[in-house]
Amino acid sequence: MEKQENAVLTVVGVNDVGILAKTAACVAEANGNVVQVSQIVMDKFFTMTMLIDITGLKNSIQELEDTLMKSLPGMEVHLMHENIFNSMHRI
């Protein structure tokens, strides 16, 4: 079986209706599988981190990030392979 690879998505910005829905739709469209989501709204600020299984992703991480940025204008979107967080924060 192919080793599962994950990427970490963060979306930060002013809260609005449907951010999570739009995000999930883009991820599904790219054949990414949502593994875990954590979301909080504080003082009108929306912060979400999402762990996505990208093993079967149709395109590259970069392309998915571009799509997300387009469908979530005004929000700060970052999508990075989980290895960078593993390397930095786990010994």
């Binding site: 963060t10 981190t49 590259s60 392979h81 290895n83 967080f85 390397s87 924060h89």
Partner: protein
């Protein structure tokens, strides 16, 4: 799941504080390209570089996109070309042009290794190569050159020191219509390391494998930003501890990118060089770290102590993070490439004497310093000798990269553009060292015991 704080810290390091992989450098041995016919030898050099490093740029871009971290430069370092000249004879500039062509073909930023190692004496090819440096750097765009003139074990080759003063001047003169750019691509070393991925001093040592991939990580902005978050009365051991932890994180990213790039390029992973390499961009300055530690401006009294602590803490954090730490590893202080150093030099706070003292405790040496256009070759040689003496006695690498600003005097500035930056002409002592330099010969290797 990852801690949101950790995720945000990583993102902010990259987006706000200029954390980047400064360079992925492929070291390539050219020993098997040697041929008694120089044209055949040049063809083999070109072919081997294009074959092994052809994908260096695209792999770098892929990895950069995957992890969301910029990889600023892609470079190649090769076996010191003087060795090939020793076999083939002929005009060494042909090699420089072959290297430059290969660099353009594969799309890299710089190629290093137009070099000679003459710390104990000159062998076949060395003198020919050294004499060709001014032309080679004037007639190519991406080639970098270095010459090792001393080591702790061999002492200092003062004949080579004398020669290099003249060569640096000639190099600047031949490129005077292009901001004396040639001299910015020429480094004179004492105790040169064989696996340095940073330009202009990178070359692929003869003790290395046929081809390896090394990375240089950077991140002065990250260190400054973490220190800015600490209270101003935190003791220096706490400051050092914080720098150490930050260096650890930065180095881990270097290790990750380096091993993945090496695997994709079918080569072995060389080393992570965890140097804090500044750029002229705001927020990417080593001088600003020193100022954050508590100096009004870089160059003030206390600078050497602050830099010593910074350099040591960076190494300690890095060594814990990777078993393959190598290269120069420490803090770089290139004047023209560091916004804080440029300001300090312009205001006269930072003098060449203070920089010399700083080089005794940091990673390299007198780097990217613009000196008056009428500086004589002897004075340049004497600066090289001083700097080499510091390296030789302290068993560390030191280097000199001076740019004589032909036609300019104190108060004027050179602007190289890009990462090489810009800088004011810094004043030098003008009393003559000529008699000492003219003596030539060798400064014997220093005693390794009775150290006081």
């Amino acid at each position: 799941m990852y801690d949101v704080k950790d995720i945000m810290e990583t993102i902010s390091m990259i987006r706000d504080n200029n954390l980047d992989i400064r360079t992925t450098t492929m070291g390539i041995s050219l020993i098997d390209c040697a041929d008694t016919d120089i044209d055949k030898s040049c063809t083999k050099v070109y072919d081997k570089i294009c074959r092994l490093a052809g994908d260096l740029v695209s792999v770098g871009e892929d990895i950069s996109a995957k992890y969301g971290i910029p990889i600023v430069n892609k470079r190649v370092s090769v076996t010191p070309v003087s060795m090939l000249v020793g076999v083939s004879g002929g005009d060494p500039v042909k090699y420089a042009k072959a290297l430059d062509r290969a660099a353009h073909t594969i799309g890299i930023n710089f190629i290093g290794g137009y070099s000679a190692l003459v710390h104990k004496g000159f062998s076949a090819g060395d003198m020919e190569l050294i004499e060709s440096i001014p032309r080679a750097l004037a007639e190519t765009e991406l080639v970098c050159s270095s010459v090792n003139i001393g080591s702790t074990r061999a002492g200092i080759n003062m004949d080579a020191v004398k020669k290099m003063g003249t060569i640096i001047r000639e190099t600047a003169e031949l490129t005077k219509n292009d901001q004396c750019m040639g001299a910015a691509k020429l480094v004179v070393f004492c105790n040169a390391v064989e696996d340095n991925p940073f330009m202009a001093g990178a070359f692929h040592g003869t003790g290395e494998a046929d081809h390896v991939l090394s990375v240089g990580v950077s991140g002065p902005g990250v260190v400054r930003s973490v220190l800015a978050g600490m209270p101003k009365d935190a003791p220096l051991d706490a400051v050092s501890e914080t720098i150490k932890k930050t260096a650890f994180k930065i180095t881990r990213v270097g290790q990750l990118v380096g091993s993945e790039a090496a695997e994709r390029l079918n080569t072995q992973f060389g080393i992570v060089d965890l140097s804090l390499a500044p750029t002229p961009a705001i927020g990417d300055s080593v001088a600003h770290i020193l100022e954050e530690i508590g100096l009004e401006q870089c160059g003030a009294h206390g600078t050497t102590a602050a830099l010593a602590m910074l350099n040591d803490a960076v190494k300690k954090g890095g060594v814990m993070a990777s078993s393959s730490v190598g290269g120069l590893s420490g803090a770089f202080i290139p004047v023209s490439e560091d916004a804080g150093m440029i300001d300090a030099a312009r205001e006269g706070t930072l003098s060449i004497e203070k920089l010399e003292a700083m080089t005794a405790v940091c990673s390299v040496g007198l780097d990217m310093i613009v000196v008056p256009g009428d500086t004589t070759a002897d004075v340049i040689s004497a600066i090289i000798a001083d700097e080499a003496a510091i390296g030789m006695v302290n068993s560390k690498t030191t280097a000199v990269r001076l740019i004589p600003a032909i036609g300019l005097a104190e108060g004027e500035e050179l602007n190289f553009g890009g990462l090489l930056g810009y800088g004011p002409v810094m004043p030098l002592r003008t009393k003559s060292p000529s008699v000492m330099i003219a003596r030539g010969g060798r400064i014997p290797a220093p005693l390794q015991s009775l150290k006081n």
